[in-house]
Symmetry: C2
Subunit: 237 residues, 2 copies
């Protein structure tokens, strides 16, 4: 640190340049068997009609997470989304208006929990991940980075927790993993593997929406999951 002036004095700060800080949200959802992303369609100029991520400036008296939660609640009506920091986007010229650093944050959510009318009323759209339009600024890069992170995260955390409804079937869970990794998996091996973690509780109910036989519903054993994460388990499938 510079030591021309005493750190932690007002004067010391005045020697430096404050910068605008924004946060952009990369929100993954899973619905109807496909991975989706929450995007925002601009309704005013400039760039009217262009798509972007949902974002906001960070205020002096709020943390970055709080800023993201604020804008997300505004647009989707959902509170308590667990946001995780991705990385900063801090290139000097990334924003044509003014020097602005954006902190990317991502989350996985259950689309079914949302108030979809509210989402659409605010101009936000759940877009199938495979058909995403081009996004403004460096938002495409943010999305690419988030997918990479999501794949890595899935290796040490059972992400189904966050993306699936409370009760889900094993074929649904497999769909999710296939969507994230973009590849087919063997259903026998998949089932064997996920059950071996011992964090799934089989319920006495079936979901009959996708087959005549119906598939048993499961839920996560949250306590057991916490123990396993603490022990450093690898949840890779």
């Amino acid at each position: 640190m510079s030591n021309k002036t005493s750190p932690w004095s007002k004067d010391w700060y005045k020697e430096h340049d404050p910068i605008y800080i924004a946060t952009d949200c990369i929100i993954f959802g899973f619905d109807e068997g496909i991975l989706k992303l929450l995007v925002f369609k601009r309704r005013v100029e400039p760039q009217k009609g262009a798509y972007s991520l949902i974002g906001s400036f960070v205020k002096l008296n709020e943390s970055v997470t709080d800023a993201a939660k604020r804008v997300l609640e505004e647009i989707t009506g959902l509170k308590n989304v667990f946001m995780e920091e991705l990385r900063t986007y801090n290139e000097v010229m990334r924003d044509p208006g003014y020097r602005c650093i954006s902190i990317g944050q991502y989350a996985l959510i259950r689309i079914s929990d949302y108030d979809n009318e509210l989402v659409e009323k605010h101009g936000a759209i759940w877009y199938p991940f495979n058909e995403l339009p081009e996004l403004v600024l460096d938002h495409d890069i943010m999305v690419k980075d988030a997918l990479t992170r999501l794949r890595r995260k899935a290796r040490y955390q059972p992400i189904g927790f966050e993306l699936l409804p409370e009760k889900f079937t094993i074929p649904q869970l497999q769909n999710l993993y296939e969507a994230i990794y973009q590849k087919q998996m063997d259903s026998r091996n998949f089932r064997k593997k996920v059950l071996s973690f011992g964090v799934l509780i089989k319920l006495n109910e079936k979901d009959k929406l996708s087959s005549k036989k119906g598939a048993f519903l499961y839920k996560f054993d949250y306590d057991k999951y916490q123990q396993l994460v603490a022990s450093g388990i690898n949840f890779e499938v």
Copy 2:
């Protein structure tokens, strides 16, 4: 994003609060078989004598990485250190002076490449990782986070590249991994595993410093390493 004013116009920015942005560097080194961290001992009040990480404010016309490189070169004389972003530390009250977000960045370096006199002249010290003093602000947390990240990183990248001298022996590489993971490994299995990656080139020279028999020196095959990283290999040992 707020749409009271057109984004990317000067006025739009003026509605928001700029914030001070700093970067703090968590620099790991490996020397004499032990993992070390570069820390800075404050020579002026307040907190004279306290230890901190090396850091700097980010200027309007420099990227966060450039800011870190600038301060690192100043203190250690080393240019071109490859810094990687850890995460942001953005709690509203983390800094008692003023709202300031710090972006933690970490690097692994070869201590032998450094100008140690320069390091000490600037009041920096290579501290054995296991004997670290308490650090100011939230720097202790940054260090803890960086070690976690380093361990994770080691799973998909051969970090020896960055921490060891150009020529190194397999026992030295094992020491490094034992230091990072804080556990003993079996030398036969370790050797087998690291050689199986196919990124080590055996040289016709021995290092006789640590044994009478001497150990063969190796170097990394950088091209092959790049290929393997691209293919998503797991370098876990």
